[in-house]
């Protein structure tokens, strides 16, 4: 009895943890699954198999679309919400490569840069190029570059690959700095865009930008989720978990890895384009430096490797923490009578990030997402412990 009890409702494997998260639900014991039986495979395999989860996520979306624009102020949009959305997207992309396919990349920033600059070039060189098209084309270029730098992964494993991806980072940084064609020969080396509009709607206001990013993020999140729960996703995870066994069941490492690189860098590229166009407006290569790459890696480690939802958690965490520290630390210092310089804050930030990375890798390698899904499991079994 106990055995069946414990075996029954565990839905998500630890890596894929929390992808069917019950938003908010888990803090009440609102799970009532009796009668939610599945009479077809597609209903059994849907992303949010539990009715309460479907409602939860629906509410969240409604709030994000209707509630947030009413509540948030300009600062919220510029400093938190928009960066959060775009970095979530980038983290999502990176998570597919690292979390799902197990190929570590330290060159994410480069692929973002490619996305941004490519989109920029399409915009300025082709008249009447629609913004959306430019962004997607940007992503496409990132895909090409991504696959190019992914090719070594077919022969190189683990650490060697990680370092090889740095090649992408440095090369691309250099290219956009030194090859003026990419920057449309702008003298300052920085490029800028303005007057953005999508399907006739101008996206100048923070609200518009926010909604635009939100829309793109939601769409990509759905597509990504679909991929990771389909057989391509299983191939990625198989390669990640046990590549020899994967080969024996007929999975082609070449195909699996390159598709992972392609999909990943496409999403990252799009995120890059958004970062440049929507968030920054005008930027230079430094915006996509190696620090960005690390930042994104940290997001998925803290958020949860191999979890779509984890990407969001991680992004939220890393976007909000510095802002929080900037507010909190000086205040705290004030309390104990030391005044804390901004440099000090910056250093503490570094330390806290570093500490958290170590902490998570030691204590909960699957990050916040795992904690979330564990909480959810508890609620589904409540009041039983297992």
């Amino acid at each position: 009895m106990r055995r069946a009890g414990s075996a029954g409702p565990l839905h998500e494997p630890p890596w894929g943890a929390a992808t069917s998260g019950s938003v908010g639900a888990q803090f009440l014991m609102i799970y009532r699954e009796n009668g939610q039986f599945k009479t077809s495979y597609s209903s059994d395999q849907q992303v949010f198999a539990i009715a309460q989860d479907r409602w939860g996520i629906l509410l969240l979306l409604v709030f994000a679309v209707v509630g947030v624009p009413l509540l948030a102020d300009e600062y919220m949009f510029r400093a938190i919400l928009i960066p959060f959305l775009i970095l979530s997207l980038a983290a999502l992309g990176l998570n597919i490569l690292v979390g799902y396919c197990g190929q570590v990349s330290l060159g994410t920033g480069a692929f973002m840069a490619v996305g941004a600059y490519a989109a920029y070039n399409f915009m300025v060189r082709i008249d009447g190029m629609p913004l959306l098209a430019a962004i997607l084309l940007g992503g496409l270029c990132a895909t090409v570059v991504g696959v190019l730098f992914g090719i070594p992964s077919l022969r190189i494993k683990g650490l060697y690959l990680a370092v090889a991806t740095l090649a992408a980072q440095f090369f691309v940084d250099w290219a956009f700095l030194r090859i003026s064609w990419f920057t449309n020969n702008s003298t300052s080396g920085s490029v800028s865009v303005w007057g953005l509009e999508v399907l006739g709607f101008s996206i100048a206001t923070p609200q518009a930008k926010y909604l635009f990013c939100l829309a793109i993020l939601v769409v990509f999140a759905i597509l990504a989720k679909n991929l990771v729960r389909s057989h391509i996703g299983r191939e990625w995870m198989a390669i990640r978990d046990m590549d020899v066994a994967a080969a024996v069941v007929g999975i082609r490492p070449v195909y699996a890895k390159l598709t992972a690189f392609a999909v990943s860098s496409f999403i990252v590229g799009v995120a890059g384009a958004l970062w440049g166009f929507v968030h920054l407006g005008s930027w230079e290569p430094a915006a996509f430096s190696i620090d960005r790459s690390f930042q994104l890696l940290f997001m998925i480690i803290i958020g949860g490797l191999g979890s779509i939802m984890g990407s969001f958690f991680g992004a939220a965490f890393i976007v909000i923490l510095p802002i929080f520290l900037n507010q909190a630390l000086p205040a705290l210092g004030g309390l104990v009578g030391i005044d804390i310089s901004t440099a000090m804050v910056a250093h503490t930030e570094l330390m806290i990030f570093g500490g958290l990375i170590v902490f998570f890798l030691i204590v909960e390698p699957h990050g916040l997402a795992k904690l979330w899904s564990m909480g959810k499991e508890k609620m589904r079994l409540w009041p039983f412990p297992h």
Partner: protein
């Protein structure tokens, strides 16, 4: 009561030799496997049994010799090609995909047969979608295997959380999902208790006569081997020292020497 008819040779290994650096893992081994039979490879630890399987399904590439499968000969192939030809295998020390559920592990055995492209999968949806349909079709096949292996209660459990014995079943399930004509089992009963061993041998035999799958099996437990296999090859230090029916092998002095000599 099972009346299986043994067919002709389906898999033949000729004069295989395999070396790692200086070490000879296998020296000039030849053996044949007949359709529908249960063929056992036994021998003391380090006799090269696993290396043999690894050569057959393309994980290792032997320096000499050739392998003939369903009439096609090849000196070496990559795992993918072997899989496509209908050879599946299980692993000695579990090689399951740790991060995935039982269901996904077994589903991964279907990847060769899943045809929808990455875009169809990305735009998968419950209403109109080839990917969704395909997923469903293969899910059904996989469910039949789950049913066959009697692990319905664990379908959505992450394999990591299962007890060892059940993980072995999932490993078998993943191989079965490939609907192989030849199934290589690398110590399917290693580290199991008596009861689990009984179950596993039952499954192996059922596979053999339900689906007529040819089975090549490495096993330490002589009792089990003698029970379930039709013919047995004995390896020792990478050399073949015996080949024949259980009775013949049991009688073979060289085998007795090697076995009783080395194993407890």
């Amino acid at each position: 009561m099972a009346q299986r008819k043994i067919g002709d040779v389906i898999l033949e290994v000729k004069n295989i030799s395999l070396r790692f650096g200086g070490v000879n893992a296998l020296t000039d081994i030849s053996l044949d496997v007949r359709e529908h039979e249960v063929r056992a490879i036994i021998g003391p630890n380090g006799a090269g049994k696993s290396s043999m399987l690894n050569c057959i399904n393309g994980v290792y590439i032997p320096q000499e010799g050739q392998i003939t499968f369903k009439g096609k000969s090849f000196s070496h192939m990559n795992s993918r090609q072997v899989a496509e030809m209908g050879v599946a295998r299980t692993f000695q020390n579990l090689a399951l995909f740790k991060g995935m559920s039982v269901l996904d592990n077994i589903m991964s055995g279907r990847n060769l047969r899943m045809k929808t492209n990455i875009f169809q999968q990305a735009f998968r949806n419950p209403w109109w979608s080839a990917a969704e349909r395909e997923e469903g079709e293969h899910r059904e096949v996989v469910e039949k295997i789950i049913d066959f292996l009697e692990i319905q209660a664990y379908r959505k459990t992450p394999v990591g959380r299962l007890p060892y014995g059940l993980q072995k079943r999932v490993d078998l399930g993943r191989a079965l999902a490939m609907e192989p004509s030849v199934l290589l089992l690398d110590e399917p009963m290693a580290g199991m208790n008596v009861e689990e061993k009984q179950d596993m041998s039952r499954f192996v035999l059922d596979v053999n006569d339900e689906f007529g799958t040819t089975i090549v099996l490495i096993e330490h437990d002589m009792g089990v081997v003698m029970d379930i296999s039709d013919r047995i090859v004995v390896l020792d230090y990478g050399k073949k020292i015996g080949d024949g029916t259980p009775a013949e092998v049991r009688a073979n002095p060289e085998v007795i020497a090697a076995y009783l000599g080395t194993s407890d």
